[in-house]
């Protein structure tokens, strides 16, 4: 075969210097955030939807829910913020499945980068995604009367607890995302798990009014510990009822503990599921 028209000289190979895990991950974060900028509707789940939750509960149900020693709106806000954070595991799962499905993960895997960069990048961008939601919640809260009453240090500590808990749940998201084949399946599964997880808790109503068996589940639910910790750190409600289960008596320590335990359970599951998916 004779060369057509002008034969170009073979392009000299450029210097390839495989990026560090940190650089590769931050490139992937840049790419994921660009998606959010192009499709701001991706944020609806943590913004409009959460604001709707705040308004529905504060003004529709709120009047009917009695909270001992606290204003319901103040009581509600930390609960909704924890719920927003819990949803980041669904966000990470959907993003990962979508990238796997569309072959984007394959493309990344064909490059000389650490394969964990895909997961690290996904996790960080999902945390940013949820944090935007938490910020929107905080602003909405400020408008309807929620305040941080215990000073800056405790206030910041509560936000850090939220991030830590979100980080732990992201591994659950990666696990689910690596095992499921379609985004629709992930969405169905995650919402089925997330709703009871965030409602059978002290997020929207005090567990004292629940039947004893349900109250026990609610009080041992990790979501309750984190919610109680935020309430106490922000000064949004009284300490847990004297007869409440032990986790609610020590919410800050228990929240940290739960985050470590959940990470220890789900991180190995997530990594091995992702590896298994990546071998074929």
């Amino acid at each position: 075969m004779t060369a057509v028209q002008t034969t170009r000289a073979p392009a000299a190979r450029p210097p390839i210097s495989p990026p560090s895990l940190l650089r590769a991950s931050s490139t992937i974060v840049w790419r994921n955030l660009l998606h959010i900028r192009r499709m701001p509707e991706m944020l609806l789940d943590v913004t409009v939807q959460s604001v709707m939750f705040v308004l529905l509960f504060a003004y529709v149900f709120g009047g009917a829910i009695a909270v001992r020693g606290a204003d319901y709106k103040e009581f509600l806000l930390p609960g909704i913020m924890v719920q927003t954070m819990v949803f980041s595991s669904a966000i990470v799962a959907m993003g990962l499945t979508s990238d796997l499905q569309k072959g984007i993960v394959d493309r990344f895997k064909s490059l000389p980068i650490a394969r964990s960069a895909v997961l690290v990048g996904r996790s960080i961008s999902s945390l940013i995604h949820s944090s935007i939601g938490v910020a929107v919640m905080a602003l909405t809260g400020l408008l309807i009367g929620w305040r941080i009453r215990n000073g800056l240090v405790d206030g910041v500590l509560a936000f850090l607890l939220l991030l830590l808990f979100g980080f732990a749940l992201i591994w659950l998201g990666i696990w689910v995302g690596s095992m499921m084949r379609t985004v629709e399946a992930v969405q169905g599964f995650m919402f089925t798990v997330m709703f009871p997880l965030t409602f059978v808790a002290n997020t929207f109503a005090p567990p004292e009014s629940m039947p004893a068996w349900l109250r026990a589940i609610a009080e041992w639910n990790p979501v309750s510990a984190v919610t109680q910790a935020c309430r106490e750190l922000w000064g949004n409600g009284p300490p847990a009822a004297p007869d409440a289960a032990w986790p609610l008596q020590n919410p800050v320590a228990v929240s940290i503990g739960w985050s470590i335990v959940l990470t220890a359970i789900f991180a190995p599951l997530a990594v091995s599921a992702f590896r298994r998916r990546s071998r074929d």
Partner: protein
């Protein structure tokens, strides 16, 4: 060719549970040549490419790309090759330019190089006007070209293409073929999978025919055609109504008669020109009107049929009713 081979598959095996997707495949691709992996859907072509490009871990066997072992030196393999997957794996939400920036940064290429290479590649692939549009607005052909541009960004000496033209219209297909031939003339080694015999015939120096995870034939397109053997007489009728009578006539004078109703065509084995004149004489006296009568050398399609007993392209089966008439 004396140089070390660009790509080698060494007894590659891949099982998915009970399924043996690839069952002991070996081949060698010399530098600056084109290997066509030809086979029907599910033959194991994609799995082979995924193993050689380090996306999938072989159950057993190994391979070398640019001299690097796919199991022991995966990072070096990834630095030496580009991959264009079956579904164009570009990021739809990013613009064409951002897709290249993303991949350039993940290769750790200098920014200045990425900028210049992007201009060069977009120019070459006729994407200049679309460079700053989101890739989801691209047509199928443009997406493929962007995918190829992404794969070529780091100027890899070896390029794997998994069904690069599946789903493209004929014009985009021949455009892509021209680009690929140009790459080869510049010294790039190509490994491409295809279901299209025409494509393999057109592009490949060597063809490896794969069916059910095994190599069933290998050679140059000419060698494969010779292997399929004899020529055949092909008769095309003017009226479909004459098909049955024509088949009877053919059967009386030839062997292995096939009737393709949709195209009003009959084929029969032929030893040489003598057979053709005999068939011509038979039809002459029958009064059946003919559009065409001739001698055909086997195409790759016939090669495939001969080797596997089924056709490579599923589409063929649907618009022709193939009927073997036995004497």
């Amino acid at each position: 060719m004396s140089a070390a081979p660009a790509v080698e598959a060494i007894d590659l095996v891949k099982h998915f549970g009970e399924t043996q997707a690839v069952d002991g495949v070996s081949f060698v691709v010399p530098e600056a040549s084109v290997l066509g992996l030809l086979g029907p859907n599910g033959a194991g072509k994609t799995t082979l490419v995924r193993m050689l490009t380090t996306l999938s871990v072989p159950t057993s066997g190994t391979g070398r790309v640019a001299g690097f072992d796919i199991l022991r030196q995966p990072t070096e393999v990834r630095r030496s090759m580009g991959l264009t997957g079956q579904a164009a794996t570009v990021d739809e939400i990013l613009t064409g330019r951002e897709n290249l920036t993303l991949i350039g940064s993940l290769y750790g290429l200098p920014r200045k190089y990425v900028r210049e290479a992007t201009e060069r590649l977009f120019d070459r692939f006729d994407l200049v006007d679309a460079a700053d549009r989101m890739a989801k607005t691209y047509s199928g052909g443009m997406r493929r070209r962007l995918d190829l541009a992404v794969s070529l960004l780091a100027a890899p000496p070896i390029l794997f293409l998994d069904e690069p033209t599946t789903g493209l219209d004929p014009q985009s297909r021949s455009g892509l073929w021209a680009v690929l031939r140009e790459l080869v003339s510049e010294g790039t080694t190509l490994v491409l999978t295809t279901q299209y015999l025409e494509e393999a015939d057109h592009l490949a120096d060597e063809i490896v025919v794969v069916d059910k995870g095994r190599v069933i034939a290998a050679g140059t397109p000419t060698q494969l055609k010779d292997q399929a053997g004899r020529a055949s007489v092909v008769v095309t009728l003017t009226h479909a109504a004459d098909l049955d009578r024509a088949a009877e006539l053919m059967t009386s004078c030839c062997q292995e008669v096939h009737v393709e109703r949709g195209s009003r065509r009959l084929t029969a084995q032929a030893g040489g020109l003598g057979d053709m004149t005999r068939v011509a004489a038979v039809f002459e006296s029958s009064g059946i009107e003919l559009d065409d009568l001739g001698l055909a050398r086997p195409s790759l399609d016939d090669v495939f049929l001969h080797l596997t007993g089924h056709r490579a392209e599923a589409d063929d089966a649907s618009d022709l009713t193939d009927q073997g008439v036995t004497p």
